[in-house]
């Protein structure tokens, strides 16, 4: 933690006092972004409403669907159950940061296209962020593992078998790329 963070100082003794306003700097997709917000703002809402990064989706707001999945310090987490304030100082990657805007897609994005691993596309950013992590965690070694470790991302259109196929395609390509 940054010792100079204003948040370290004690809050007002009277706990019934109104909310603070926090002046946060978030590291999103390699850039420092300033967010001035109420401590109640979740990372998901900060991304979507404050920073215009609407690729991360809200499907439940309660950790039940996975649509809001992003990477924080390289780990997949649910941005709807993360306070923006608690993400300060960490490296946040969203679907927008997975590949440059123009040019080649990330192998996982390409694989999702190649295998039609979505229909409406609403769960897709979360699925892809989760899928990338699934591979880097080493949880994509068998079909059964992929299915289990991708079970935190609901797809109501039910593209599941195609998602598994996409991950199998992307896995060796990701390894090649990282090698």
């Amino acid at each position: 933690m940054d010792a100079s963070s204003p948040l370290k100082s004690s809050p007002p003794e009277n706990l019934r006092d109104r909310c603070q306003t926090l002046d946060l700097v978030l590291q999103v997709n390699g850039r420092s972004r300033r967010v001035v917000a109420d401590p109640r703002v979740t990372l998901l809402d900060a991304l979507r409403e404050n920073l215009g990064l609407t690729g991360s989706k809200k499907g439940c707001d309660h950790g039940q669907c996975g649509a809001c999945t992003v990477h924080v310090d390289g780990r997949r987490v649910l941005s709807c159950l993360t306070f923006a304030a608690a993400a300060e100082g960490k490296h946040i990657t969203t679907i927008e940061g997975l590949a440059p805007q123009e040019g080649d897609l990330h192998p996982m994005q390409q694989a999702f296209m190649d295998h039609d691993a979505f229909q409406c596309g609403y769960c897709t950013p979360g699925q892809i962020m989760s899928a990338v992590a699934c591979v880097t965690e080493g949880h994509a070694e068998t079909d059964a593992d992929i299915r289990e470790y991708m079970s935190g991302n609901l797809c109501r259109c039910a593209a599941y078998p195609n998602i598994v196929d996409a991950i199998k395609q992307a896995k060796p390509l990701m390894r090649e790329r990282d090698a």
Binding site: R40, L53, T54, I95, D116, C120, G121, Y122, A159, P161
Partner: protein, 769 residues
């Protein structure tokens, strides 16, 4: 997984029909750039949060708004006290109007159902709006609600009076049943279900002067536009709906819901954009749902399996004011050859929100009942269930004798049975095992009427040779963007990359609701018509006296690889050809009228479409014939010997659905449908506390839908089918075909695994303990 391409002969020279291509909107979706309505960037937005009723029946005695108003950042609170009379009522969708329900929340203090919108809080931030919403105090006068069906089975009612009832019937089913040597008589039921698209119900309204723009995920932008305009008492051309991407619809975003007008009014009162993203919990009551159903089926058969009597009585639940029913007896009565048929559908009114479309509305619950009963009959007859279907297969409507335009049910069965390995099934229940798991194999028929609607589309050929397709249709994940691009590429002979498609905007030419599996058939035909018109103009210019193909037979000129081609090898690029037609783009606007449309639809169809009213020619009565798509579905279930949890690791479906325009997306649709079917059979049910007529598992942790680990092998097979009676392009539509037969196939497999016949869905482990 395999996929056999459906090739039924070329219709044009483009060579695009039936070719598996990636979705054209795929890149936007995998990069997060696809702009769903709640993603639209906007300045100075205020946020709305709904307050919904905690009681199902009664009145609001008083609001206590002091605490809510005291919350920092609260801007406005709407309740019936300030909204009364502000929103005009519009007619019910199922009655030919716009609204998903005639219940008008906040028009008075009356409460019709739990979860009804009773207040809307608007604040500077989402957080403040939510806090204030929780602080809205309400005093209710509570009456005891009726939640739905009573605990006991409904009593059958007399069915046979064809003079007074419109339910499909023929012969004397009762007498034939009494005389039948083999009989099945049983009750079946299906639970309340909710669409639960992953995208939440959102609405963002922005006024600019008297012009209202609404960003809302919609399966029917023209319906929404006209409906809201009428509610607000403004001209429809003052309202624009923008909904280019929809995060799943399944019927839940088809008709106008009450929320939209309130957000529009809130935006007007505050003179700034207002955005609502209703919560997941609220999604269970702010739109419609699939109501629970009950069924009494009686089948009588000869000992050779021939049906002699079929009767199907259904019971459905609706709200107090609206008579909504899906009445799937229209389909179950014509499914098999049988001389004596009786049907009846009853509606029970309760203190609930109004139900509505949910993926394959009519067929899903009714086919579950009849196809379970058919399996029971096969067991009673000691007959293979596939053979029972074969014996009773029909090519005509058994009531009217009108032929099916095409019906490849048994080809589907044979194809799927082979792929599944059905021949090695030991029919004795409980006889197939794998370690501690009991294995069951079951099958059932799937079918869905081929509905077609009037539709409009504009196709523009730009001077640079690119093609633009525009229609106010919708891609709710169905692949419409891709299917329409393929259609234009097919007829204009241009590469797919040269085609762009615009959908989901009410300023585009009107198109029907994305529902009833009509959209691909209807809009592709409109696009084809527009393309044909462009071809006509291009060919006319090419063979004209100053054209390069002067003197050639115009019918011999073809379009491929971006060129007009003559049989003698001469060619001209589309660019050059269109340049000769004049400077700038050339465009054609087609108004497609279904071939099967009745006289009335032909007369008023286009006007109704323009007004956003529901208008569709139904496959269940297409003039001199009936038209359906068919499929056969085979499922393997596994039930643990001790703890009885049920899994469905393998499913095969073979489908005959006419011409397949876009096999990639069609396959995904059918695959999704099959998984929906597994979900409905084993997982889904919206549970209710009957004492209060309130849902209790209204979130995604408690309302079960399958996760990735629930699904393993899903095989979709297309059975080629050429049927241009259904419409010129021979498209049958398949968005709703996949999940129709699955419920029964799973239940039949569970019977085969365990010997236990479960007639009430969903099937859960406690049913098998």
């Amino acid at each position: 997984m395999t996929i056999s391409e459906s090739q039924v002969g070329p219709i044009s020279e483009g060579g695009m029909f039936g070719k598996p291509v990636p979705r054209i909107d795929g890149r936007l979706k995998v990069t997060g750039a696809a702009c769903y309505p709640s993603d639209t960037p906007m300045e100075d937005t205020a946020h709305a949060y709904l307050v919904t009723s905690a009681i199902a029946r009664g009145k609001i005695k008083a609001f206590h708004l002091e605490d809510a108003k005291a919350v920092d950042g609260v801007l406005d609170i709407l309740t019936w006290e300030n909204m009364k009379g502000k929103v005009r009522s519009v007619r019910f969708f199922a009655g030919g109007g716009y609204a998903s329900s005639t219940i008008m929340p906040m028009s008075s203090s009356k409460i019709w159902h739990a979860g009804q919108i009773i207040a809307v809080v608007i604040a500077e931030s989402f957080e403040a709006a939510r806090e204030a919403a929780y602080k809205v105090g309400v005093d209710y006068a509570v009456n005891k609600p009726k939640a739905g069906f009573d605990e006991s089975r409904p009593q059958p009612r007399p069915m046979t009076n064809p003079l007074t009832r419109s339910d499909p019937a023929t012969g004397d089913a009762e007498k034939a049943f009494a005389a039948a040597p083999v009989k099945i008589e049983a009750y079946y039921s299906t639970p309340t279900q909710h669409h639960n698209a992953i995208e939440l119900f959102s609405t963002t309204c922005v006024w600019s002067g008297d012009q209202l723009t609404i960003y809302e995920p919609s399966q029917y932008v023209h319906g929404l536009k006209n409906g809201v305009a009428r509610q607000l008492g403004i001209k429809p051309d003052k309202v624009r709906i923008i909904s280019p991407f929809v995060g799943g619809g399944f019927g839940g975003k088809a008709a106008l819901t009450a929320r939209t007008a309130f957000i529009a009014l809130a935006a007007q009162r505050l003179n700034r954009p207002v955005k609502l993203v209703a919560t997941r919990k609220q999604a269970y009551t702010v739109s419609n749902f699939r109501a629970e159903t009950q069924h009494l089926i009686k089948l009588g058969a000869e000992s050779n399996g021939q049906l002699t009597s079929l009767s199907h009585e259904g019971w459905e639940v609706s709200s107090r004011p609206d008579e909504y029913k899906v009445a799937g007896t229209e389909t179950t009565a014509v499914l098999y050859a049988c001389p004596n048929i009786a049907t009846r559908v009853n509606v029970i009114h309760a203190d609930r929100s109004t139900p509505g479309f949910m993926r394959s509305p009519a067929e899903v619950p009714y086919i579950f009942a009849i196809e379970s009963a058919m399996d029971e009959l096969a067991v009673a007859l000691h007959m293979d269930p596939v053979e029972l279907r074969r014996i009773n297969d029909t090519q005509i409507n058994p009531i009217t004798d009108a032929p099916y335009s095409s019906r490849a049910l048994m080809t589907c069965y044979d194809t799927a049975a082979k792929a599944f390995g059905w021949a090695s099934r030991n029919p004795v229940p409980g006889s197939m095992t794998d370690g501690d798991w009991l294995i069951g194999w079951g099958c059932a028929t799937s079918c869905y009427p081929t509905n077609v609607a009037p539709a409009e589309a504009k196709v523009t050929l730009a001077p640079n040779g690119s093609v633009r397709v525009q229609s106010a249709g919708h891609d709710i994940g169905t692949g419409a963007y891709t299917a329409l691009a393929i259609t234009a590429a097919e007829f204009l002979g241009v590469p797919l990359e040269r085609v762009s498609v615009e959908l989901g905007d009410s300023t585009l030419p009107p198109a029907p609701v994305a529902g009833g599996s009509n959209a691909t058939a209807s809009i592709c035909n409109a696009v084809a018509d527009a393309c044909k018109e462009l071809r006509h103009r291009l060919v006319t210019a090419a063979v004209a006296s100053n054209g390069p193909m002067h003197g050639l037979d115009r019918d011999m000129i073809t379009f491929s690889d971006g060129q007009l081609r003559a049989p003698d090898g001469q060619s001209e690029t589309l660019m050059a050809a269109s340049a000769r037609l004049g400077f700038g783009p050339i465009e054609a606007h087609a108004k497609y009228m279904p071939e099967i449309a009745s006289k009335t639809i032909k007369l008023v169809g286009n006007a109704m479409l323009g007004k956003g009213l529901p208008i569709m020619a139904s496959g269940t009565s297409a003039g001199d014939h009936i038209q359906y798509a068919f499929g056969a579905e085979f499922v393997e279930v596994r039930v643990h010997r001790r703890t009885r949890e049920i899994r469905a690791p393998r499913i095969v479906g073979a489908f005959a659905a006419g011409r397949i325009i876009s096999p990639t997306t069609a396959r995904s649709q059918l695959m999704g449908g099959l998984i929906w079917g597994i979900s409905a059979a084993l997982h889904e049910a919206t549970e209710m506390d009957h004492r209060f007529a309130r849902y209790v598992n209204d979130d995604l942790a408690e309302y079960m839908v399958p996760v990735n680990a629930d699904i393993q092998d899903v095989e979709v097979i297309f059975v080629p089918e050429d049927d241009t009676k259904v419409n010129a392009l021979g498209i049958k539509g398949l968005g709703e075909l996949g999940n129709v037969g699955t419920n029964a196939a799973v239940a039949n497999a569970v019977y085969h695994a365990t010997g236990q016949r479960i007639r009430d869905l969903p099937i859960r482990l406690e049913n098998l303990l």
